[in-house]
């Protein structure tokens, strides 16, 4: 099965939103609106990057994130497909969940008396571990 012929994604290279995030969001949105269904084939990284005039690495990053979130699945040389449970996984807003977790942690740190500078330094240090 392949994606519907008229299904297109559009990116804005002047947008403040990173290009890979635009690709991720639009593929998720296509899954949510059922424009893309489980088992539908997606274009290769090279094809999509070429058509959008983007670097291959940008599209590869978007595909990696989608694969991590079980929205898409790569089956070797056969290509990339929409995951069987993509619709369920799409409804989970991982960036939103991450923001909420961080907000709660920051709030706890502030309540304990940590300054914003101390929180930033601790966050950077934790990210490097």
């Amino acid at each position: 099965m392949t994606a519907k012929q008229d299904m297109e994604i559009t990116i804005d290279i002047d947008s403040e939103e990173p290009l890979f995030a635009q690709v991720v969001e639009q593929i998720k949105s296509a899954v949510n609106t059922k424009a893309l269904n489980a088992g539908d084939a997606l274009p290769s990284i090279r094809q999509l990057a070429g058509d959008l005039g983007l670097n291959n690495k940008t599209v590869a990053k978007a595909y990696r994130l989608l694969e991590r979130d079980n929205i898409i699945v790569t089956r070797g040389y056969r290509g990339t497909f929409i995951h069987e449970d993509a619709l369920t996984h799409c409804s989970f807003d991982l960036p939103g969940w991450t923001r909420a977790q961080l907000a709660a942690t920051i709030e706890a740190c502030r309540e304990a008396g940590a300054t914003d500078s101390e929180i930033r330094i601790a966050f950077a240090s934790a990210m490097q571990e």
Binding site: A3, D12, D14, P43
Partner: protein
């Protein structure tokens, strides 16, 4: 051992094929190319379709509209005249083709000369696309989420036939050349050249199907059609090379080397008919979407 032939018949055939080569490559197709370029310039002028004429191409187009492709045609006609002079000299000097072949090298050299103006047009086309890409300023870009497959552009049965003929030629060629110990450098050169050519076709097709658009404005349907035509040309070219090499090998083995120059000329003409001919037949100017190059008004995106 060369077979016996009626030399008059061989010469008549040879002159007829060479005359056809001169006319086809240096007169007929250059005229068609020139007419096609003028058709585009007149129907889609720079004032209304500025995206089609990046940088200096608007000036070139105006100049070509007024004077035609004078230099291009003059060079082609000069090469055609040179070909006729060579044929006249051959006729005057009572030329007879070598019984053991070898004269085909002159046919190939003249063909290369004939191809120079066409190569120039090809290089100009790539420069044109490069300038278009430089001037492409669209910030919103769309792409289809339908994957493309090579089989959409090149018929798999034709590819299988090309592969089969390549293998058959290889077996025929190597069996004709005997044991490996006796292979000369020309055997290795032929093997590398023909394998390399087929690999180049595969590489370039993949690039056209999956790579970046040469012309950033071109409509997807037009691009697909062009890739399909190029795919057909490449596969037929691969089939043609295998058949041609098998024929010349057979000519060498069975004493028909005297026909080598005719075979080479005939094959080269077929390549041009199969290449340029398909492009003219399958990609008519009127069938292309030129609206993508039209000047944008304030209300358009």
């Amino acid at each position: 051992m060369p077979a016996d032939f009626d030399m008059t018949a061989v010469l008549v055939l040879m002159y007829a094929v060479f005359l056809s080569q001169i006319y086809l490559i240096s007169v007929h197709y250059p005229r068609k190319i020139s007419a096609r370029i003028r058709e585009v310039i007149e129907a889609y002028p720079p004032a209304d379709y500025p995206r089609l004429y990046p940088g200096p191409y608007a000036w070139y187009a105006e100049s070509a509209k007024r004077r035609g492709l004078g230099l291009f045609m003059a060079i082609n006609y000069t090469i055609a005249a040179l070909g006729l002079v060579i044929l006249g000299a051959m006729l005057g000097n009572g030329y007879e083709p070598a019984l053991l072949g070898g004269d085909e090298i002159f046919v190939m050299l003249y063909f290369m000369l004939q191809m120079c103006p066409l190569f120039y047009i090809q290089i100009a086309e790539f420069r044109h696309y490069a300038l278009m890409r430089q001037q492409f300023t669209e910030t919103r870009r769309s792409a289809s989420l339908a994957p493309r497959r090579m089989s959409q552009f090149v018929p798999p049965k034709l590819v299988a036939l090309a592969a089969l003929l390549f293998v058959l030629w290889l077996v025929f060629y190597l069996s004709g050349k005997g044991a490996m110990a006796t292979w000369g450098s020309e055997v290795y050169a032929t093997l590398v050249m023909i394998t390399g050519m087929n690999m180049f076709y595969v590489f370039y097709m993949r690039r056209m199907v999956f790579g970046k658009k040469l012309d950033p404005y071109r409509a997807d349907e037009d691009r697909d059609r062009q890739v399909r035509v190029m795919g057909k040309i490449y596969v037929l070219s691969s089939i043609g090379v295998s058949l041609f090499l098998s024929l010349t090998q057979a000519a060498d083995q069975y004493g028909f080397e005297i026909f080598d120059p005719v075979l080479v000329s005939f094959y080269l003409q077929l390549c041009i008919i199969g290449g340029l001919g398909f492009v003219f037949r399958d990609i008519a100017v009127s069938s292309l979407n030129f609206e993508v190059y039209r000047k944008q008004t304030a209300s358009q995106p």
